[in-house]
Amino acid sequence: MAVQTAQLESYLESFTDFVRATAPETPAWLRDLRDTAFARFCEVGFPTTRNEDWRFTNISALARIPFRPARETDRVVAASLASSHLAAWHMENALSRLVFIDGLFVPALSTIGALPQGVVIDSLRNQIAQRPAFVAEHLGRYLDTVRDPFCALNTAFLEDGAFVHVPRGIALERPIHLLFVSTAGPAHTPTMTHPRNLIIAEEEAQAAIFEDYVSFGAEIHAFSNAVTELVARGNSNIEHFLIEREHLQSFNFSTLRIEQARSANVASHSLLAGGALVRNNVHPVLAGEGGECLINGLFIGSGRQHLDNYMLVEHASPHCASRQFYNGILDQHAHGVFHGRIIVHKNAQKTDAKQTNRNLLLADDAQIDTKPQLEIYADDVKCTHGATIGQIEDNALFYLRARGIGEIEARRLLLEAFAGECLGRIKSGPARDYAQAVVEARLFALATPAPSPAGAAETKERNWEEVG
């Protein structure tokens, strides 16, 4: 379906403004990349639920809102944000912390730190200016902008994000924290951002990278549409994290495209706690023999949150293993989706692919759609999948209460145990502690019967007056 005229006009206008504003700094190759992507977006438009990939997620509410990109003028306001305003999202022990306000890198709020020889951690925009040839070689090379209009849209408005390059044999012991703050802006109008991250881990490199999406200020509609391309060269070891905990007027779409070479070991951990309508795409391609990919996730929804996890795991080489584990906790009217697609290409013999989706529904109106989709073109493979949907077990709840533990605390313990399955799969200690604190805060809100909506603890409304 083509983009509706009114929507198209809004996006066309934004794109024209964007192209004009960024023209001086834009090399020709990037202009081409954006133009092609925008043309593709206009051609296919937003998906409807008739599209199999979007069957459980209706995005018409998003399509109706005339989002505009955050512009240069807004950055003056962004710059008045002090680091104290970001204290709630401070990660202890981070190697580097890059802060992006409405999609744009803010050096004053960021700390790169002392890095081992050859490691580059920077904003993508800086790197496009400084190392255009290296960036051009990778940027957009792995992403499928034809299939997914949101990836096309991201590429059309591609401007900034994080750039991480870990050279051969370097192990970064501490995590890299990328903090994406969406704000209501000074005008309190719906803003869209299209963060674009490029992560290149050379052979035998090791790193943990955290993408953390939060909101600041009044709860105005915001649309964050991020794309990360992660290249894991031979024998590298990468842990990637996504935390979504924006306020309840947020639309958060993200795509993690992983390209794995021989014997590379990659883990993707997603934690969806906030946002109104969230779509989490994880798309690893196991392109070299002996690669291993862990796709681990937890989604926790209440109110009317809609949390959609779309996995596309491609086995393109023999002897690779992929493990998908997603746990969902849904309360009130929340709607969760787990769509786990596995494609085993013809030559990918001895593939070992496993998929498990476990869900707890805490209320009658909570809903989960879980759908495995296996497409196997090789003949010597092992693929298993399973899904469960249950409630908090009454026997377990009574057992805890019979020992003196109050009902709320007992529920919280059981929810934490269920969430703990996912946290337990995180290798990096500091990253696990950080994720655990987010989960605990979210579950505390969930177990406590109060009218306060999801994530209220972290996304308390703050006004620009306080900031400026």
């Binding site: 077990e393 057992y399 209460r401 019979a402 313990l413 399955e421």
Partner: protein, 258 residues
């Protein structure tokens, strides 16, 4: 005042009346044994005492330390001093054994206005009780009852009891399925808990446990009623004659209520 006073207790579960008028008085320091055939309502009585909501009390009253037990939630009953060792202990994946017991102990201490115990205060105590029950320290960090053998689960119940120090302990077939060594260890753990200000209700099918834990009173529960009460020797008589004869004797002596 008795520690526990049950008066004319009627209870139903799943639409069926299971307890049909129970009267029982338990004083501090006493050990009562409740015996009876399958399905007679022993566990139902234990669950009512620990306030499981699915067991609906339709008539009667229970006073515990003089307070209305039936008005309490399970956690309140536990904080007031009731402990039931489950016939079928529940597995709780993802919740560590030691963490669970410390959380429970602290909930009870909070209820009673006592300080919270941190891990440093708690662990030596916990370790000591584990030794008493001959439990390996590795159980500490394992999930509650997950993958435990039957005997290990039962020992874990007694370990919890030893930590929580209830004033009324109800042991629901803690002996069932135990081999003789495990039975001795469990009985030893229970005996160590006997004290003048604590009472116990020991639910069992078999006389065997009573060789180690000598009860002051034995009650025979048949079809939701206590049909006979006596001293420790009643258990021996039961062992000899079986429930059937006791049941029919009881029916003969009280035909009107059948």
């Amino acid at each position: 005042m008795s520690l526990l006073e049950i008066r004319n207790l009627h209870a139903r579960v799943g639409g069926h009346e299971i307890l049909k008028g129970i009267d029982l008085q338990v004083n501090a320091g006493e050990v009562h044994s409740i015996m009876g055939p399958n399905g007679s309502g022993k566990s139902t009585l234990a669950q009512v005492l620990s306030r499981r909501e699915a067991f609906e009390v339709t008539e009667g009253a229970i006073l515990f330390h003089g307070k209305d037990l039936l008005a309490m939630k399970p956690e309140e009953a536990a904080c007031e001093g009731i402990f039931m060792a489950f016939q079928y202990p529940v597995e709780i994946p993802g919740v560590g054994n030691a963490y669970f017991v410390r959380t429970a102990l602290n909930a009870i201490r909070k209820y009673r206005g006592l300080d919270q115990l941190d891990a440093m205060d708690f662990l030596p105590l916990y370790r000591e009780k584990m030794r008493l029950l001959d439990m390996d320290e590795q159980f500490m960090n394992r999930s509650v009852n997950e993958g435990f053998s039957g005997g290990e689960k039962k020992r874990n119940e007694i370990l919890q009891m030893a930590m929580l120090e209830p004033s009324l302990a109800i042991l629901d077939e803690t002996d069932s399925g135990l081999d003789i060594d495990a039975l001795r260890i469990v009985a030893q753990g229970v005996n160590a808990m006997r004290s003048p200000d604590r009472a116990m209700i020991v639910v069992t099918h078999y006389q065997r446990l009573l060789d180690y834990i000598t009860p002051d009173f034995v009650h025979v529960l048949v079809d939701g009623r206590i049909v006979r009460s006596g001293g420790a020797d009643l258990a021996l008589e039961l062992e000899e004659k079986g429930y059937v004869s006791i049941e029919s004797e009881a029916r003969q002596t009280a035909p009107a209520s059948a």
